[in-house]
């Protein structure tokens, strides 16, 4: 299998603070890879470096064979990279329908009609302002927005954050079905149980470095290590 994403030795800064210290990550075609790590480990920063929002100062990002390290974000998106940012970042001052008209769609199967089939709630609320949506609806909208790009690779930053357990399950069902459509996925997750359940492979980050990488199932069975890697929040989830 060929890699759709290959990041090598990324060093990323916010101003003068050096956040990523040589992060290397790969996602193969059709693969679902989870990125675990405690708060402040650098997971969000890693995704931001991959999508061009906070480009790495050193190292190299390769997407679908292109060296995209210093590409602007919109060019990266147009390669077929969907991004669901941390905290959803839906446009609260736009309606649901307007939110869905922001992404620049590549040709493909995802259309607004199909989005409303998959997320009937959004269809019903198409004229509501973004800020009137519940947390779950906002998450669906953020995923829907990224799907309209018709991505070949989807990056999701803590999609289950702050959602009730029932909704968390729905989000993960959606992610699994995206994957069955052939979309490669890189998922950042604090909820280690769900994160490891759906993944093929896993990376664990700490302090801006990858401290573990391997098969998701193997790590899932090693509760001790999950606890050590992923911090307090995984304890309840795994135990």
């Amino acid at each position: 299998m060929s890699a759709v994403l290959r990041a090598q030795d990324l060093h990323t800064y916010y101003g003068k603070s050096h956040i990523l210290h040589g992060v290397s990550i790969e996602v193969a075609e059709g693969e679902l890879v989870t990125l675990l790590g405690r708060n402040g480990a650098g997971k969000t920063t890693t995704l931001r470096s991959l999508v061009g929002l906070t480009p790495a100062r050193q190292g190299r990002v390769e997407l679908f064979g292109h060296d995209t390290t210093h590409w602007p974000a919109h060019k990266i998106s147009r390669l077929g990279v969907g991004y669901v940012p941390e905290g959803r970042k839906i446009f609260s001052n736009l309606t649901v329908l307007e939110n869905l008209s922001v992404p620049v769609s590549r040709p493909g199967r995802w259309t607004i009609e199909r989005i409303f089939e998959l997320f009937p709630n959004l269809g019903e609320r198409r004229s509501s302002w973004g800020r009137q949506l519940s947390g779950g609806e906002q998450e669906m909208l953020a995923i829907a927005r990224a799907l309209l790009i018709n991505p070949k690779l989807l990056l999701l930053d803590e999609p289950s954050q702050g959602l009730a357990p029932l909704l968390v399950r729905e989000v993960f069902r959606t992610i699994s079905s995206m994957r069955k459509e052939g979309i490669s996925i890189l998922l950042v997750e604090q909820n280690a149980r769900f994160g490891l359940d759906v993944a093929d492979r896993v990376y664990v980050m700490n302090d801006g470095e990858v401290v573990h990488s391997g098969c998701a199932r193997e790590l899932a069975q090693d509760e001790e290590q999950v606890r050590a890697f992923a911090g307090a929040e995984s304890r309840a989830a795994v135990g």
């Binding site: 998106s77 991004y83 970042k89 990224a146």
Partner: protein
């Protein structure tokens, strides 16, 4: 009574100009994150372009060509100057750059067209009063009010109904996410800047028919425009319109009763609004809510 009507109507016209200027400036402040002190300068450019082109294109041709050319100048300014401010969030840079730009524009206009005022001819059928009692309501003033209403309406329709406009509104809230969704935000910002500048140019052309043209005519308008934006609430386009009309009307009516205070009254209004409602009249709500 008549005097109040006269000054009130004058104030409303003045306010409509402030509103049009404030709309463009608001767009630029919100999406380009640049406090454009040269906005009044672009208004002057629009006015003088119309003056220079009217002999060749006629009044109506100049009315269209003036704003379009000013907008094109805006694109060049964005591309070669303003764009370099985006990576420098400190407002000092944008103040220095646009303040310098305002001086350059003023002096360029002065050296091309002279320091004195020049008249701008409007079609004579537009220049006559619509009624004898209300002699101050000339056809041209009615036309100016309609044209400004039309321009503002077209802007709102564009932002509400076109995909590009929706993306501008999204970008005002969160430009990064708009970029990550595949939108070329460099283009978005350039077009937005040009729209704001073209609106200033349009205000200039319309003003050319009411006021005497002079290289400094933008200076009187720019402070009132900032006040209009602050009163209406930064980030709210409806607020800019409301703020502009309000301070124009207030200045007009004040000049009927207490002429010496007519310049000060807008700052008094601003102070009161800021004390009672620090975010401005419509400030807490985003665009169009």
């Amino acid at each position: 009574m008549e005097l109040v009507l006269f000054d009130g109507f004058n104030g409303l016209i003045q306010g409509a100009f402030y509103a049009l200027m404030a709309l463009g400036l608001s767009l630029i402040i919100s999406l380009n994150s640049v406090i454009n002190f040269a906005h009044g300068g672009f208004m002057v450019v629009g006015a003088y372009l119309a003056f220079a082109l009217a002999p060749y294109l006629g009044f109506w041709g100049a009315l269209i060509a003036g704003p379009v050319l000013t907008g094109i100048l805006g694109i060049l300014v964005e591309r070669f100057l303003v764009r370099y401010l985006y990576a420098r969030p400190d407002p000092v840079y944008s103040l220095l750059l646009t303040f310098g730009l305002a001086l350059i524009i003023e002096d360029s206009v002065r050296s091309v067209w002279g320091a004195g005022g020049v008249p701008f001819a409007i079609p004579s059928w537009l220049d006559s009063p619509v009624s004898e009692t209300y002699f101050f309501i000339t056809g041209y003033r009615v036309f100016v009010m309609s044209a400004i209403t039309l321009a503002a309406g077209a802007l709102f329709a564009f932002l509400r109904l076109s995909r590009f406009g929706v993306r501008i509104r999204a970008g005002i809230l969160d430009l990064e996410t708009v970029a990550a969704l595949g939108v070329n935000v460099y283009l978005l910002r350039a077009v937005n800047f040009a729209i704001g500048i073209a609106l200033a140019g349009f205000a200039g052309v319309l003003a050319a028919g009411v006021l005497q043209l002079s290289p400094t005519m933008g200076n009187d308008v720019i402070m009132a425009t900032f006040v209009a934006i602050v009163v209406g609430g930064i980030g709210s386009l409806f607020g800019s319109v409301l703020g502009g009309l309000l301070i124009g009307l207030a200045a007009g009516v004040t000049s009927a009763y207490y002429p010496v205070a007519s310049d000060v009254v807008i700052y008094v209004i601003m102070a009161i609004v800021l004390i009672v409602r620090p975010r401005g009249l419509l400030g807490q709500e985003g665009l169009f809510e």
